[in-house]
């Protein structure tokens, strides 16, 4: 009796243990790449350190300096502009998808047109747009000249540069959201649409109460990916303007890079303090927001 229970247990055991064993490599990697560096950054932010000589403990001096730094506020403001304007790609993608969700001749080839911008590198996106903005012969420059009668060198204008870079980023982002919604619209239950129509729903009411609730999974992914995209602003900023002119297009991640790692500065401690502030903002606002959506989403399922 006891022998048979034993053999049963020993046959069971690998199966009970396996999930943990299987999770281990992934979790270990994760710890190594994400968790440890975050604490390392927090630690370094209390030091004055050039990365080579001995680090000196200076307490919260880095943070106090940050509060007084104009560049910090410019970067923070730009980060917020990025996030807000990037979010526009979600409704924009939805609108285009709704319009296209009908029998259009050659829909397959047609869909691929939307699909390409998202698969090319941000480096290429940045270069193409810098070139479109180029004064004198850039296509967008020409277009502005044609419409307003006067060309504007967007990437050299302190007040416009951030919007110019965001426009470049929105191009692939809108295309992505549109693909997401177009795929999602395939799954919208047509009997519900029909039922709603019989009940007299149409236009905006139909969209808001019948279609959009069914697109929830798509909306969730669209927002998550858009937020990630907005925070990847580093790539485009670094390629298109290197934070210029006069630092007006910096975002926090680029500012940190400038302070700690570029050829201009080796202020590791200060850079780390910027990173910590950025982490804090992210965790509080964005994670909180997405977390809530995620909870709702789980509840629905």
């Amino acid at each position: 009796m006891s022998a048979s229970t034993d053999s049963l247990n020993s046959r069971r055991r690998p199966r009970a243990f396996a999930p943990w064993l299987f999770l281990a490599p992934g979790m270990a990697m994760f710890l190594f790449y994400v968790i440890i560096p975050i604490f390392q950054s927090l630690w370094v932010s209390f030091y004055d350190w050039d990365g080579l000589s001995d680090a000196k403990w200076i307490g919260i001096a880095n943070y106090l300096e940050l509060l007084d730094d104009d560049a910090f506020y410019t970067s923070l403001k730009n980060n917020i502009i990025w996030l807000v304007l990037y979010m526009l790609s979600v409704p924009a993608g939805l609108m285009i998808a709704l319009f296209l969700n009908q029998t259009v001749r050659g829909i397959r080839i047609y869909k691929s047109l939307f699909f390409f911008p998202f698969v090319i590198s941000q480096v290429v996106v940045g270069l193409i747009f810098s070139w479109f903005y180029a004064p004198g012969f850039g296509l967008l420059y020409k277009l502005i000249e044609l419409v307003t009668g006067q060309g504007v060198a967007i990437l050299a204008d302190e007040n416009l540069v951030t919007y110019g870079i965001i426009a470049a980023g929105l191009w692939p982002q809108i295309a992505y959201c549109m693909i997401l919604y177009l795929t999602g619209l395939n799954a919208v239950a047509s009997d519900q649409i029909e039922a709603a129509r019989l009940d007299g729903a149409k236009g905006w009411r139909m969209l808001w109460y019948v279609v959009i609730p069914q697109l929830r999974p798509a909306t969730f992914i669209a927002i998550v990916v858009t937020v990630i995209g907005a925070l990847r602003s580093f790539d485009l900023v670094s390629i298109m303007t290197s934070g210029g002119p006069f630092g007006s297009s910096r975002v926090l991640s680029y500012f940190m890079y400038e302070q700690a790692l570029s050829e201009y500065g080796y202020r590791m401690g200060y850079g780390a303090a910027i990173a910590v502030v950025l982490f804090a903002i992210m965790i509080i606002f964005i994670s909180g927001f997405i977390w809530k959506m995620w909870r709702d989403e789980k509840g629905v399922r």
């Binding site: 390392q40 939307f114 070139w131 004198g136 798509a218 790539d235 390629i239 940190m256 982490f279 994670s287």
Partner: protein, 276 residues
């Protein structure tokens, strides 16, 4: 959404739809076209759309100036290597999450994904130091590991959504018939998961291929992939736009071709398997 539409309206819609599509595609098209122009025609005023003297000289010059094949090889090794390594690490983890879920599984998943939203710059410095210590700077294999780690949350997430669709009863039945855990994963789960794994691989190859931040910061001459290749043509002072276009076209061509042939799987990948 069945609706009666007149032929004329339909034609109008089709035209408008195509116009939007072409507008979205235009920047890429323009880049490809410009790569066949001479430098003079590339910046001509008014811009020339199709009627210019088609030339291949930009490609010849770009190839002469920098060895395209070396960058391409690096890109392929880094993108494919990091993806396959990621799959090896992620399949067991996703298996655990999908088939032996606990109360916390979904929260762990979300938590992993949320780290993708942290700025990469914040961890650049620790990783950079580590690479110096390990002698991995400008090394393809170092980059393979880093890119694998960066995309790991997405790989786990995608595999999880695909695995979840596999009915647990089938695995249960195999278990009843006496299949060991190894057999269960190897002979039952894997064949059913192939389409999901395939789209995960495709998407992540593309993500790793396009990754610029890490590849630009952790490589120099030896291990630099195509992102570095294009970035080296970005000096705006030179006004070499035709050559820049040729370099860009060469860098994005592999991904455009691959994307074209694997669109269906890729769309599922792009939507993280969550939207059908």
């Amino acid at each position: 959404m069945a609706r009666t539409v007149t032929t004329r309206q339909k034609a109008l819609n089709t035209t408008l739809a195509w116009a939007i599509g072409l507008l979205i595609f235009f920047p890429i098209l323009w880049t490809i076209l410009t790569s066949f122009k001479t430098e003079g025609q590339a910046i001509s005023d008014p811009p020339i759309f199709l009627f210019f003297d088609w030339t291949l000289e930009n490609y010849a010059i770009v190839q002469e100036r920098s060895d395209y094949l070396r960058f391409l090889t690096n890109s392929v090794i880094i993108a494919v290597g990091s993806t396959l390594l990621g799959i090896v690490v992620a399949v067991p983890a996703a298996w655990s999450m999908a088939f032996v879920p606990s109360k916390r599984t979904k929260d762990i998943l979300m938590w992993m994904l949320s780290t993708k939203m942290l700025p990469a710059v914040g961890v650049l410095y620790p990783i950079y130091l580590l690479f110096i210590k390990l002698g991995l700077l400008d090394n393809r294999w170092g980059l393979v590991v880093v890119l694998m780690l960066i995309n790991l949350p997405i790989i786990v997430w995608m595999l999880y959504t695909y695995f979840k669709e596999i009915p647990g009863e089938i695995l249960e039945a195999a278990r009843m018939d006496g299949a060991t855990l190894r057999e269960e994963i190897l002979y039952i789960l894997t064949p059913m998961a192939v389409p999901g794994i395939a789209s995960t691989i495709l998407l992540n190859v593309i993500l790793a291929w396009n990754e610029a931040f890490w590849t630009l910061n952790l490589t120099a001459a030896k291990a630099a992939p195509l992102t570095a290749f294009i970035a080296s043509y970005s000096s705006p002072e030179g006004l070499f736009y035709a050559k820049l276009s040729a370099a860009s076209t060469m860098a994005i061509a592999p991904i455009l071709i691959m994307g074209w042939f694997s669109q269906k799987q890729l769309v599922r990948g792009l939507t993280f398997g969550a939207v059908k």
